[in-house]
């Protein structure tokens, strides 16, 4: 019997692409290939989600056993419709459906990808599109909805309530969500949504850590530091976090540094430049070691559907300090008992002080975190759930 065929449709794909949803789909691609599925990734030529410039060549390539089909991004619109919608949202108004449609089409579009899937959709047992907000998911998710799985990575943001997304949320065959709070949000936003299952994500478990090596490689000495890893941008709460950290350390009675890794520009005030270390993109090994070397991990994003970095911190035995505005991360912190949450800058300052001033207690706080991740969010466990879901949907059981 031929191997069942699975198509994954992320907006970007590749070992050098930064982004939680993209990383997960890459793991799924490789994991399902190992389990006997023929996996094709249908994606764009873009690497950078700021510019959407066509970086990779169009056409077919491979990522190990995974076939990648890349199609060029078309980005020839003025941005006016996006600006209009942003303005309406800023005023607390809901854009009309027409404005929402224009907004969706006023940015990256990938007509060749759409038509490739239009041609071949029936050759796949299942098509996974993710995340919900991107044109690739919106346009391609409705080509063959009867065999499409939406992995929305839903956040409580105004766009999630756009009428535009109703057909996607209501009409696909299945929805895979990451956590129960994401499911609650889905119920609230789309009461008639397609059948949904909590699939979660997996996190690779490093074989070991070398925190001293990390400190040495990046000349951090013995400095006690908190870590932020990920996209340094407003949507992730980075700027607010930086401001709050700077305000705290400017009080000159908190002995703490901030190390940050990832993409995006970092603007560090001169007077605290010696306390903030922007390492940019680092290797997977350095990233893992950074988690282990940190005294605490900061998760300022209010818009998380899973938060892989929180899991990576807990695996490394590091406590988490997270924005309570993210129901998902707050839920993880509560369930695991290994994280603190803050409502405002005053809370955050106290969390930072706790880590700086009570490092042993902070380390103790983190202890149940590793067990929590191992029990719930490793790849073998997650892929088992996903494979069972795929087989059920495709009638292979």
């Amino acid at each position: 019997m031929d191997a069942p065929r699975l198509a994954l449709v992320p907006p970007r794909y590749g070992p050098d692409v930064i982004g939680g949803a993209e990383l997960v789909l890459r793991e799924v691609a490789h994991g399902m290939t190992e389990r006997g599925w023929e996996v094709e990734v249908l994606t764009t030529c873009a690497r950078d989600h700021y510019t959407w410039a066509n970086h990779y060549p169009a056409g077919t390539s491979t990522d190990g056993p995974v076939t990648i089909r890349r199609y060029p991004v078309v980005d020839d619109t003025s941005g006016k419709a996006r600006a209009t919608v942003a303005q309406r949202l800023a005023l607390g108004e809901m854009p009309t459906l027409r404005e929402q449609e224009a907004w969706m089409n006023d940015g990256l579009r990938v007509p060749e990808l759409f038509h490739a899937l239009l041609d071949d959709a029936e050759t796949y047992q299942a098509i996974i599109v993710s995340p919900y907000l991107f044109w690739t998911s919106f346009a391609c998710g409705l080509i063959a909805p009867e065999r499409t799985i939406l992995r929305p990575c839903l956040h409580d943001e105004p766009e999630a309530r756009f009428e535009l997304f109703e057909p996607l949320l209501n009409g696909v065959a299945r929805i895979w969500i990451n956590t129960e709070p994401e499911g609650d949000l889905l119920d609230q936003i789309a009461p008639h949504h397609a059948p949904a299952s909590v699939m979660g994500e997996g996190v690779p478990v490093p074989e070991g850590y070398d925190p001293e090596g990390f400190r040495s490689r990046f000349a951090l000495g013995d400095a006690r530091f908190v870590l932020y890893a990920g996209r340094r941008e407003g949507a992730k709460g980075w700027e607010q976090l930086l401001d709050a950290f700077v305000a705290t350390v400017r009080k000159e009675d908190v002995d703490l540094h901030l190390v940050t890794i990832g993409v995006g520009e970092v603007h560090i005030p001169d007077d605290v430049a010696h306390l903030i270390h922007d390492l940019g993109l680092v290797s997977d090994r350095d990233r893992d070691d950074a988690f282990a070397a940190a005294s605490g991990y900061l998760q300022p994003s209010a818009l998380e559907s899973f938060s892989r970095t929180v899991m990576e911190a807990w695996l490394a035995g590091t406590p988490v300090v997270a924005n309570a505005a993210s129901p998902v991360v707050a839920w993880h912190c509560e369930r695991s008992g290994a994280g603190l949450t803050y409502e405002d800058d005053a809370d955050l300052e106290q969390c930072l002080r706790f880590i700086a001033e009570a490092p042993e207690a902070a380390a103790e706080l983190a202890v149940p975190g590793r067990r929590y991740v191992l029990d719930n969010y490793t790849w073998p466990v997650t892929l088992d759930r996903m494979e069972a879901g795929l087989k059920e949907m495709a009638g292979l059981v």
């Binding site: 619109t77 089409n105 041609d119 057909p167």
Partner: protein, 478 residues
């Protein structure tokens, strides 16, 4: 063959776009190299503002690289809105020139305004030239063939009658039981379905009114579709349907856009698809219902007559009374024929075909109450199902809504005068200031309607409350 398809295109919500994408899929699978041009950015390969002479020139340039061009024609894609005779002339001539310029061109006609080719219309020749310049005009009904050959003067050899649903494919794998489960519908009971964009001309309110009394027999009517929220008349219609839902047991409104799969799943879940359209050019719902093997009850309008001709699962009705009779017959599992005598199966099985039923004797008061209730629904007033109206008593109490009901909608400024020549000047002024005055007038009318609905809803609630209080036992006496 290199083919260019010109049409609205996903991922926007558009019936013609949904039709076009299926055609594109079929053509590509047949081995053709197909590209799409849409009027706005979309998943199409090209997007052009096709309106006016400039749009026609741009289209002409794009067409040059193709062997065949298929244009899904709707006037709004090509003509300015509103289209004046002079703009129709310039656009029509430019578009005709584009169509004559090179490759084989096929117009798939979705809609056209036949008033543009009347003898008195100065743009008639230019409009005709558009269709005469196409290699072929594809239409969905014999009436359209007649219109194209007669009024638009297109040679008969250039007009082709094509099946509307030729490129449709089934989008759901659910059977009736699974579809009902997934949609939260009961496993039993006759399910009527009205589906598609909710617009006044679709007449879903007619189906709801015709359904009166069938809820008590275990049937249900589901109105499913989305409202084009930027259309004020559609928003008013939505409120009317909500009011009918609140009044008539068994009527359920499910507003929201549907994917193709969900659209088909609703049809599969239904027993009868009802198309109570007031007017329609042609219907994709008919084709999907046929594809999925569900019978339809439809009004005898537009292209429906042709689409349903010879379809054994179809019942055509002429008016609301026949619509109600056909729906009753469907619930009874009997056939109904408009030409049958009063003893035919539908009527004998289900009683007289009327939605006007009264619990007790029919007196003026109960009739007026029902009239009142229905007219309230028409104005979008939400009330409890079965709640009594105000009745027709001479001593009917004054209501908060009454003064508002007596107001006429704000008319456009009258462009008439008894003095010679003044009317023309007024008309000219009216046209010049229309861009400024019309939105204000429209807003006033909407405000007036909203005030009336609010007042009437308040009246209805007060009356329900009053009824409840009247019905409660007096604690002091018990």
């Amino acid at each position: 063959m290199r083919i260019l398809v010109v049409s609205p295109y996903p991922p926007i919500r558009d019936g013609i776009g949904a039709f076009a994408v299926q055609q594109v899929q079929t053509l590509r699978r047949a081995g053709h190299e197909v590209e799409v041009c849409s009027p706005a950015p979309s998943a199409a390969h090209h997007h052009l503002d096709l309106r006016g002479p400039k749009g026609a020139v741009a289209l002409r340039r794009l067409m040059a690289g193709f062997d065949r061009v298929i244009i899904h024609f709707h006037p709004d894609f090509f003509y300015d809105h509103p289209a004046t005779p002079s703009s129709r002339i310039t656009t029509g001539l430019a578009l005709a020139a584009a169509l004559r310029s090179g490759p084989e061109t096929i117009i798939r006609l979705h809609e056209v305004d036949r008033r543009w080719v009347t003898a008195t219309d100065p743009s008639a020749r230019a409009t005709r030239a558009v269709f005469r310049s196409a290699t072929r005009v594809e239409v969905h009904s014999p009436d359209d063939v007649e219109m194209m050959t007669g009024e638009f003067k297109v040679p008969r050899s250039q007009v082709e009658l094509v099946a509307h649903g030729a490129e449709f494919v089934v989008r759901t794998t659910a059977d009736r039981a699974a579809a009902r489960r997934s949609l939260g519908l009961p496993a039993d009971g006759h399910v009527f379905l009205c589906i598609g964009f909710v617009q006044p001309h679709k007449g879903f309110d007619r189906a709801a009114a015709a359904f009166r009394g069938l809820g008590e027999k275990g049937a249900s009517l589901h109105v499913v579709g989305s409202v084009r929220i930027d259309d004020p008349s559609a928003a008013d219609h939505e409120r009317e349907l909500e009011a009918l839902e609140s009044q008539i047991p068994g009527v359920h409104l499910h507003l929201g856009y549907l994917s193709d799969e969900a659209f088909d799943r609703w049809i599969v879940a239904s027993d009868t698809v009802v198309l109570p359209y007031r007017h329609i050019w042609s219907s994709g719902v008919v084709e999907r219902a046929r594809l999925l093997g569900r019978p339809v009850i439809a009004t005898r309008v537009g292209g429906l007559v042709h689409q349903l001709a010879g379809d054994p699962g179809a019942t055509l009705v002429d008016d609301n009374l026949q619509l109600a009779a056909a729906m009753r017959a469907a619930v009874a599992g009997a056939a109904w024929s408009a030409t049958g005598d009063p003893d035919d199966a539908g009527r004998t099985a289900t009683g007289p075909a009327s939605t006007w039923e009264f619990d007790g004797p029919v007196d003026r008061s109960s009739v007026m109450a029902e009239i009142d209730r229905r007219s309230a629904a028409n104005r979008g007033v939400i009330s409890r199902a079965g709640a009594a109206g105000r009745g027709g008593s001479v001593n009917q109490p004054a209501t908060a809504a009454l003064p508002l009901r007596r107001l006429r909608p704000v008319p456009p400024p009258p462009a008439t005068s008894a003095r010679p020549g003044v009317s023309t000047v007024k008309k000219l002024i009216r046209r010049v200031i229309a861009w400024e005055v019309d939105p204000l007038r429209e807003q006033l009318v909407r405000l007036q309607k909203a005030s009336l609905q609010a007042a009437e809803t308040t009246d209805a609630r007060l009356e329900e409350l009053s009824d409840e209080l009247d019905g409660e036992p007096d604690d002091e006496q018990s």
